[in-house]
Subunit: 321 residues, 2 copies
């Protein structure tokens, strides 16, 4: 995916999994990149990038960070589907409200484009159409999905009322290097982490839940395509377009690691939909984007990365960074 227009950008959440991958890619292609976030887990991998320490809930920090960049990538969501549902008000206060504040600030600094990462796995809720297109009903069964959806609607409104451009990527389950499952998010990272330290992998339900996994390099391609997009659509599903059962993902990890993993099945959670696969036709047609890396190859690259950086990762996971 070529970057045609983007000259400078700020990445909110630049120290996290997607942020790190995005910042590195953009910086390598000559874009001026500022990464904003509370902490950078791998600062040695962000040398070409300006690091801006700040809390997304602090409007003055956000205001001084975003300046006049071409694009604001908004990758921050300070909750998980589970934590948001346990504390709906906290989720609103830490994610929705600061995003409304960001919209206000972005208007004031002269309307750059905002690229927002929404959630392909949660905004639709219980779906009747699989793969699910962007036009499907949106009835989330987690508070995380509701606040993501509300942010989408406010961005749509801000573009209509104030000309503040935006694109929404409803992303499925990204995986790859720099995902270290600190909040136990990301099945593949969590499973690799447990496997390498010989711990038991806990899964919700019997492992037949189906998810759509996308390698991070393809995800970054989609983010850059959205930053360059000039068409009319504003919301794009981004996934592999294919479903995999959780047990099959674990089996694939066992295959690459060449060893049997310890698995424990916990009761199914009411916040998990049985199947999540998004239709990526719109992204293919309108962003000119498509996934390039097979699941197996992505998994291989991810495990290689873990093996190379095991010492560093275990430092991070032990809180020593």
């Amino acid at each position: 995916m070529k970057n045609k227009m983007l000259k400078s950008c700020v990445v909110l959440g630049g120290g996290g999994f997607l942020g790190l991958n995005l910042c590195r890619r953009l910086a390598a292609s000559g874009v001026r990149v500022r990464a904003f976030g509370r902490r950078s887990l791998f600062p040695e991998f962000l040398k070409e990038v300006e690091w801006y320490q700040g809390n997304f809930s602090d409007p003055s920090a956000v205001a001084s960070a975003i300046e006049s960049f071409d694009v604001i990538f908004h990758l921050i969501h300070d909750s998980t589907p589970q934590s948001a549902t346990l504390d709906m008000i906290g989720d609103v206060e830490h994610n929705l409200v600061p995003t409304l504040s960001l919209i206000k600030i972005a208007r004031e600094v002269g309307s750059p484009r905002i690229i927002f990462i929404s959630s392909g796995g949660t905004v639709y809720g219980q779906v009747t159409q699989i793969p699910t297109p962007e036009t499907a009903p949106t009835d989330p069964i987690t508070a995380y999905g509701v606040s993501k959806l509300a942010i989408e609607k406010y961005l749509n409104l801000a573009e209509r009322l104030y000309g503040l451009e935006h694109r929404v990527l409803r992303l499925t389950n990204p995986f790859g290097p720099f995902q270290v499952a600190l909040k136990n998010q990301g099945l593949i990272a969590a499973a690799i982490s447990r496997a390498l330290s010989d711990q038991t992998i806990e899964i919700w339900g019997d492992g037949t839940v189906v998810r759509d996994f996308l390698f991070v390099d393809d995800t970054i391609d989609a983010l850059i395509a959205a930053a360059n997009h000039e068409g009319k659509s504003r919301v794009f599903n981004i996934g592999s377009g294919q479903g995999r059962r959780v047990i099959d993902v674990v089996a694939a990890i066992e295959h690459v690691l060449n060893r049997k993993l310890k698995i424990r099945c916990d009761p199914q959670r009411p916040i998990d939909v049985p199947t999540s696969i998004v239709s990526i036709d719109r992204a293919r047609n309108e962003l000119g984007w498509s996934p390039k890396i097979s699941f197996e190859s992505g998994l291989q690259k991810t495990i290689e990365w873990w093996r190379t950086h095991e010492a560093k990762i275990s430092h991070i996971k032990n809180g020593k960074f």
Copy 2:
């Protein structure tokens, strides 16, 4: 509309236009009614009702007010489409967050049913289908519509996760006695008020905007039907199912008053959709509800009410109550 099951209820926003009408109707039919709100404009009309003074943004006031009633009618929205759009964060903090708090409290006191008044005129945004069914896309063009929609989604989630029952009524433009246009909301009340005091009526655009007006007695019927409903649907459009241009409404008022009104056309606002008419087939079929009072008859009753209570109303509008 017969009330079959409801024995006791609390009406959040019981001192306002819809709340007053609802409380009076329920109390007259023998239901134990508590009205909760910041102020009651017409306390002499709420004599059969227990008045509970409190601020919806104060969780402890809400918690002590709601107790163990059969039904909570949630009629509070502390903003208008215009004010919410000017202060999106304030709208979230004063409406969405206290509603999440209400959900939490309602769970704790043993899951009564919540009946929530949503907005048929704003949740859909720019529609392609007129009359608009409940299944149409929801892309609001006002922040008011976004927060109403977000509340709908959280109520849906709360029922799924915690069994907290709810019904959502996407109401169009109710009018009738006790609507006094204090915040300049409600075209008919505002126009009657201006006409009776010989002031100019300001309308947005050229008056060709089409809205769906419903007499308040029919609206209250729908609220009671929703409180008694036992079917599967959770969201119902409530309107007359018919559209009227703003200029035609003004002409109808002129006709009843038998005098020419002074009108000023201000520029069209970007937050106003050109046409809002909802399909009420679902409410007809599943709630067994339908509007009974013609627009003309409702208007006649409304103007009679204004004439009877003119002194009191002008006291209220001058802040003397």
